[in-house]
Symmetry: C2
Subunit: 284 residues, 2 copies
Amino acid sequence: MTETITPVASKDAKFPTSHQAPDSDVFELPKPLQPPTTSGRRRTAAEESRAIVAQRTVATLATLSDDGTPWASMVVYGSLPDGSPVISVSTLSEHGRNLHSDYRASLSIIADEGPAGDPLDRGRLTLAGTFIEPTDKQLLKVAEQAYIEKVPAGRIFTGFDDFTTYLLKIDRIRWVGGYGRMETVALADFQAAEVDPVVHNAPGAVRHLNEDHSDALLLMAQNLAGYTDATAAKCQRIDRYGLDMQINTPRGIGYSRVAFPHPAKHSGDLRSASVELVGLARES
Amino acid sequence: MTETITPVASKDAKFPTSHQAPDSDVFELPKPLQPPTTSGRRRTAAEESRAIVAQRTVATLATLSDDGTPWASMVVYGSLPDGSPVISVSTLSEHGRNLHSDYRASLSIIADEGPAGDPLDRGRLTLAGTFIEPTDKQLLKVAEQAYIEKVPAGRIFTGFDDFTTYLLKIDRIRWVGGYGRMETVALADFQAAEVDPVVHNAPGAVRHLNEDHSDALLLMAQNLAGYTDATAAKCQRIDRYGLDMQINTPRGIGYSRVAFPHPAKHSGDLRSASVELVGLARES
């Protein structure tokens, strides 16, 4: 029996509903030899999406140019407490002029998961919708403050007459977590989801685990994830609930999730949660 | 006399042609107190653009969704020797289905300039045009090889029937180098420009200079850039021709360029070029 990567269904009948591989063996991954002993909750697609918005400052904006073609360009953003992105752009820039003519747009944000591995296995998000210019003075002030919190230089240029502060009214949310993990997220779920408190600490924690604690990771793979024949293990990403691992075995490379006995509640909790997990791996 | 950030002209009469700041003092930066002794060539906008394409693997694609709205999503790409990007996408993904219906698209790529500073001061690029499916078998093979060179997993999935390999026929190129540096690049210049040989070494060199050689940077600022009252200096970015510096003075923060006496010709030349520059700063 082999673990398979979940195929993604397309709703459009004219397109295939799963990868059209000439040889289905490419999806076969080694399974654990023993049942995993710590599996547990992982972030929902809505939580993943909110974590990406909260973590990053840089996004790519897609707008429509005068001739109707799509224009991709870098922007920086802030976000309201419900996750709605705020940008401030000048009509000196093409994207600023585009938005001035047509509010329809989307934002793509790529997660920072620590040391760069395969970029196709990284979390990313598209938020599509319509930008609005807040007319309510209170809302405008809140939006500008949310922007300046992430973009300190905005304190100066949001006051320029050529800049407009926009708030994205989200219509559609598409999250991709890497190979085989992707979901369309309902706006209400996105808005209600809690932001992972460790989102800013995660990239450093992944680097630290891989650089200084490869022995502990190997123990987790062997004793908790059930890959008793593991020869090496790497942490791919970490979040409040646990960590994703890539595990080398003589049978090939496997992937597993190891959950913290006590999820992190505060930004500084990753260390103690990881130590507890290592303790569990040593006892097993 | 004060240095001013170059305003960017908009061609569209309905928009302002320069930043509409309530107080023009915000653009005033301290000038050097002595004439700089090493100024020199810097990369052209075409060279900057080619450097960004060569350096990175991750881009954001803007396509048109079924309802005509712009869709931003992460992709990975390779590039032909003339800088034309190659992507390979599945019709299981929204961007793959979008391109299947409408080839018009653009790609946004953000430079890696080392440790993250102000993202608005970072190099980035938009390449807009039309994706084509190479019908010529030789061209398709070259395109697929260029893609796989940057995206090893492409060796597997470019063979799937749901994936299409596309080549971007570029119509428009817009480069932004940071605050006050931006240009539209002619396609012929882009195609003819040489790729900076140090582009992959640059982020590490910036980190190394700032972490381990702040004394040498300060000497460069004082003795070469002419900021004799500099109290600290940071390398913002580095390329084959020299480095950009951010310089603290009691008069405020200034920016300067220091050129290498001998530009780097090979990927490993940054070290010797920097050592030569430090020697020059010590002698001055």
